[in-house]
Structure formats: structure tokens, C-alpha cells
């Protein structure tokens, strides 16, 4: 499933699809836990410096530098410190972490061990989304193997350092992927995000310093130590080290998870034979969401952009969680946005008024327009509602406690910016111009 280009060998996905790749035995034969051995010979501060030098950035969505995040944890805190793994992969278009959990969970566990040793963490909680039954089974089996092999437990690979690792499954709430909501959920509460500051690195789980890292981020950590931070940094751009997993879905011939260079462009991902293998016969790209459903949509003339944090930021969108959703020229943009808007309305936790009231309002307006009941003022109303949740641009300065408000408003702003004519056509013609076939080339399920 995964492949590479531009001379990059797969790192994270190298063993996917190979027999027994998820077992400790297989992982060790591939050099597994050698990175941890190296790290255990270093001082914790030196480990954090090495991760900083590698330019590894968080793979969960925000792209924050990992080493810097680790360095925010106070060293002299009398409270216990915690590591929480964010495996609540729920952003539409994103499905990479499940492959790590299913095919190579020890890679993440090794990252957990390195991070915990560097941070002085003795308890780690791996929080997986509730629907991940099979990934949870694979991950738990790997944790059990790690305990039996003396990797976890009283002695961390023989070192006088206790590390316990527990798996917790959520119960179906996208908001729990937001780091403070995840901590609330881990504390046994409903997933209501917390105000920041204080940030979790200082006041996190049970009021203690806590680092929250994504599954792919932690799976990347061992490679910083086996290959060295210089090697890892050079794989990427000046500000983003390593490779990255991208999830390709929607109307392309070969959807899937691909490990790519930071220099790979969206156009290459869609058309290259190594990846998406182009569009269905006779169809063209109309729109692409480059980083999970919350990332502002791009038009067909904007695909010559590297799928890397900084490059996509220049285009006023984001690399986000790596979820690339392609829509062909027979897809209705109003219906697509309506479906995305429904997601955010469904998943809003209800804590902040702009999000609680605004997300269903967006959904109602979009339904009205799609069903041919739209009125001339509806587009302005939709834009105003979205602006009340989060103005655009810039990204990340919404009117809500957490970024779910931004995530709900950004698609609306960007769809209206790039495809306003389609919204107007719905209102003018008092119907969906795509009739009963609004879903593109593969919409006719058989």
C-alpha cells in the first residue's frame, strides 16, 4: 500500500504488509528497539536536543515541533509526569495511524519508551478512538509483549527506570482528539476542551505535566536515534524533518496511505503511478482538501504545492493530519460542504455558543441550498455564521475554546471563496445542478 518517491526509502511504513510485521520478533529483526538502546545511553536533556535538531514536527494536525514541546515540561516539578498518546484518529480523510497500530505498533511503543525516559514519565496512556477494535487488539498484544520482554515494567530494558503503559479506548467523540479534551476523557469525564493556558506540558493529566503526542509522531522518534538527527532532518525541508504519511481518498484510481517526501506535491500524489494513479477515465480534478476535512479546500489550479506544513500555509491551507480528499468535476461542492458541515455539527461538544449554535446553523443553510430552497441572502448568511464561529483569514484565531470552531468554519469560508458560483447556481436554478448524482464518479455504489 505504501510507496515512496524522489529517492526516499520508506521509514514508518517499511514493514507494512509483511508477514507478522506487528510482532516483537519481527520488529527486533528489523533493528527495532536499537533507537531506544542508544537513547538510554544519553542524558534526558540530550535526547530532547536530538529530537529538536531532527526538526520532527507533530503529525496529528498542528505540526508543532516535537522537541520544543517536550522541552516545555518543567524538570523540577514535584508531581508525576505523564505521556498521553493521541490515537483518536477521527478527522474525515485521515486513516494513517490505524496502519501503524495494526501493522507496526512496536515502532510507536519504542517512541513512547524514548519519550518517557527523556521526560521522566513513568506512566503512559495510549488513547485510541473507541471504534478501533482491531487496532486496539494489536496494540494491546504489542504492549503485553513489551512487558514480557522487559521493555516496559519495573526496568526499562534493564535500566533502573519504571515505565507502565496502559491502553484506553474512547467511546465515539471526535472532540477527544483535541489534546485537552483527550485529557478530560482520560480522567473519566466527557470530552470538554480546557482553556489554554495553562498548557498540558505544565498542567495536564490529573493536574500534572503531560505531553500529548500523536501515534505517527511517536513512531517517527526511534528513527531520529537509529539514523541520527542530521540524517532525519535532511530527509525533509528546512523546517520539517523526515518523511510523512499521507492518506489519499476520494475520486482517485488508487486511494491509500503513502509515505512521501516532504517535497512531494499534491499533483504528484494524485497522478503519479506510485500513488493515486490519476483520475477515473474522462474526469478531472475539481477540488482537493489537503489535510483532513477541516483544511481549506484548494482548486484544480493549485495542486503544484508540496505537501508540507510551510508550503501549504502559503496557500492559506494546511497539511493538518495528512488527509487528502480528491473531488472530481462531477462532484457537487454544496453537497460536499453540507456533509462536512454535518460532521462538525454532530461532533461539536456544545461547550461554546458560537460552535454549538453555529455548526447546526451552517448545516441547515447548506441543506436548504442543496435541496433547491435557497434564497439570495443565504450565501451571505452562511458566510456570516461561519465568521461568527471563526473569522477567515487568519487560521487559528476563532471565537471558541478549542480549534473545532476553526475546523468547522474553515471549510465553509474556503468552499465559498473558491466555488461561490456553484452555490449561486443552486439558488438561481432552485435545484442541485448535479441532480441525483452529486457524488462524482464513484458515487454509484454497486
Amino acid at each position: 500500500m505504501a510507496s515512496t518517491a524522489k529517492g526516499i526509502d520508506p521509514i514508518i511504513s517499511a514493514a507494512w504488509g509483511k508477514p507478522q510485521s506487528w510482532t516483537l520478533d519481527s520488529y527486533k529483526k528489523r533493528g527495532g528497539y536499537e533507537g531506544l538502546k542508544k537513547a538510554l545511553e544519553m542524558q534526558p536533556a540530550a535526547i530532547i536536543d536530538e529530537v529538536k535538531k531532527s526538526n520532527l514536527r507533530g503529525r496529528g494536525g498542528a505540526g508543532f515541533p516535537t522537541g520544543l514541546k517536550w522541552s516545555f515540561v518543567p524538570k523540577d516539578s514535584p508531581k508525576p509526569k505523564y505521556l498521553a498518546v493521541n490515537g483518536d484518529e477521527s478527522e474525515p480523510g485521515t486513516f494513517k495511524d490505524r496502519y501503524i497500530l495494526e501493522d507496526d505498533p512496536h515502532m510507536m511503543l519504542e517512541g513512547i519508551a524514548i519519550a518517557s525516559y527523556a521526560l521522566g514519565v513513568h506512566t503512559c496512556y495510549v488513547y485510541l478512538r473507541g471504534e478501533f477494535k482491531f487496532p486496539a487488539e494489536r496494540c494491546q498484544a504489542a504492549i503485553d509483549e513489551a512487558y514480557k520482554a522487559g521493555i516496559f515494567g519495573k526496568k526499562l530494558m534493564g535500566k533502573d527506570f519504571e515505565l507502565n503503559c496502559y491502553l484506553v479506548r474512547g467511546a465515539g467523540a471526535y472532540i477527544c482528539g483535541e489534546e485537552t479534551a483527550l485529557l478530560e476523557s482520560l480522567e473519566g469525564k466527557k470530552g470538554w476542551p480546557r482553556l489554554k493556558p495553562p498548557f498540558p506540558a505544565v498542567v495536564g493529566l490529573f493536574g500534572s505535566p503531560t505531553v500529548v503526542n500523536n501515534v505517527e509522531t511517536l513512531a517517527s522518534v526511534p528513527h531520529v536515534f537509529t539514523g541520527g538527527s542530521d540524517w532525519y532532518a535532511k530527509l525533509g525541508t528546512d523546517k520539517s524533518g523526515g518523511t510523512r504519511l499521507v492518506c489519499l481518498s476520494g475520486t482517485v484510481n488508487r486511494p491509500g496511505v503513502y509515505e512521501v517526501s516532504m517535497f512531494t506535491t499534491l499533483a504528484e500524489l494524485i497522478y503519479d503511478d506510485k500513488y493515486g494513479r490519476g483520475m477515473p477515465a474522462g474526469r478531472k480534478v475539481k477540488a482537493v482538501i489537503p489535510g483532513g476535512s477541516s483544511a481549506p479546500v484548494l482548486g484544480a489550479d493549485e495542486l503544484d504545492v508540496a505537501m508540507e506544513f510551510e508550503a501549504l500555509k502559503v496557500k492559506q491551507t494546511m497539511a493538518g493530519s495528512g488527509g487528502v480528499i480528491v473531488m472530481d468535476d462531477s462532484t457537487c461542492m454544496v453537497r460536499s460542504l453540507w456533509r462536512v458541515a454535518r460532521f462538525y455539527a454532530e461532533e461539536s461538544c456544545g461547550q461554546c455558543t458560537p460552535c454549538r449554535e453555529g455548526t447546526p446553523w451552517q448545516t441547515r443553510l447548506l441543506r436548504k441550498i442543496e435541496e433547491g430552497r435557497g434564497e439570495p441572502g443565504d450565501i451571505d448568511m452562511l458566510s456570516n455564521v461561519a465568521s461568527s464561529i471563526a473569522p477567515y483569514p487568519p487560521i487559528g484565531l476563532g471565537n471558541t475554546i478549542c480549534a473545532l470552531g476553526d475546523a468547522a468554519a474553515l471549510p465553509t469560508h474556503s468552499f465559498l471563496m473558491r466555488f461561490k458560483d456553484e452555490f449561486e447556481a443552486h439558488i438561481r436554478e432552485k435545484r442541485c445542478p448535479f441532480g441525483d448524482k452529486p457524488w462524482g464518479s464513484f458515487g454509484d455504489w454497486s
Partner: protein, 162 residues
């Protein structure tokens, strides 16, 4: 006299499970075990009966209201007894681009239920992204994942459900 919540075998499973869950948290933070404890109860009973919620709350040293608050926040907990098979169909964007809406309509017709309805055998629900966008369309039946679905594949899956 009210019927006991658990059979002796279920009671044994619950007691062992709740002790294991509580051991994963600091001794003054038992309440953190709420999600795993509710999952345990649901695994045993198939849903979360009110007396079960009260029992979980007692073990975690919180009020029953707190247990209900959490249980009602998350969509995977059943506060009413569901059908034998809970069918969760993803209709999010990537799945709909591969025909999920038509798949849901087919299921509604085949099961004789609208999304959101239930009978003794099936609960049919339209659900949000199941992280299977590259192998769309997909659904889960009692948390078992099925992907790259065609009509024939779906028919074969349903035929195996007794």
C-alpha cells in the same frame, strides 16, 4: 425481589475487570476509569442498564449522575438496549464519494429500518468517519470493521448474521 444485574459468571468478570481498570490509575483518581468501566459493563450486558451505571459509579466513588453524564456524552454507549447487531454506516465525505449514501439506502430497504431506528435484531445508525477513507465505503457491525464494500460483499456479511 428485583432480579440481580449479573449472573455469577458475569459478576466474576465484572469484579476482575473493574479491579484491573482501577489499578491503572492513581489511588485517589479512581474516577478516571469511567470510560473503560462503562465499556466493561456494556461488554457484559450489551448496554448500560441504570443499575449498572449506579454500580460503576459506586466502584469509582462518584455519583451516579456523573456516570450518566459521561455515558450520555459518547455515542458508543447504549443507554437503551440496542438490537443484537449494531450497524454503523459511515457516510462522511470520502465514503459518500464512493457511494455510501446509496449503500445506506440499500441497507434501509434490506433491513426494513431507517437510519436511527432499531428492532430486536438490528440497530441501524448513520455514523461519522470510521478512518477507512482509502477503503470506502465502510461500516462496522458490533465494532467489527468491514471495508471496500460492494453489494455482493455486504449481502454475504449480512447472510452470516443469525
Amino acid at each position: 425481589m428485583a432480579e440481580p444485574l449479573f449472573t455469577p459468571e458475569e459478576q466474576k468478570k465484572f469484579d476482575a475487570g473493574i479491579a484491573e481498570i482501577i489499578s491503572h490509575y492513581p489511588s485517589d483518581r479512581k474516577s478516571a476509569g469511567m470510560l473503560p468501566a462503562l465499556r466493561l459493563l456494556q461488554e457484559i450486558k450489551g448496554w448500560l442498564p441504570p443499575e449498572g451505571l449506579r454500580l460503576v459509579a459506586k466502584h469509582l466513588e462518584v455519583t451516579p449522575e456523573r456516570a450518566y453524564e459521561v455515558a450520555s456524552f459518547y455515542v458508543m454507549y447504549h443507554l437503551k438496549k440496542p438490537g443484537k447487531y449494531v450497524v454503523d454506516v459511515c457516510t462522511n465525505l470520502s465514503c459518500s464519494l464512493w457511494g455510501a449514501e446509496k449503500m445506506l439506502a440499500y441497507l434501509e430497504e434490506k433491513l426494513g429500518l431507517k437510519a436511527g431506528e432499531a428492532n430486536e435484531k438490528f440497530t441501524l445508525r448513520e455514523t461519522e468517519c470510521l478512518a477507512s477513507c482509502g477503503t470506502a465505503p465502510c461500516l462496522q457491525i458490533n465494532e467489527d470493521h468491514h471495508e471496500s464494500l460492494t453489494r455482493a460483499k455486504l449481502d454475504a456479511i449480512l447472510a452470516k448474521l443469525s
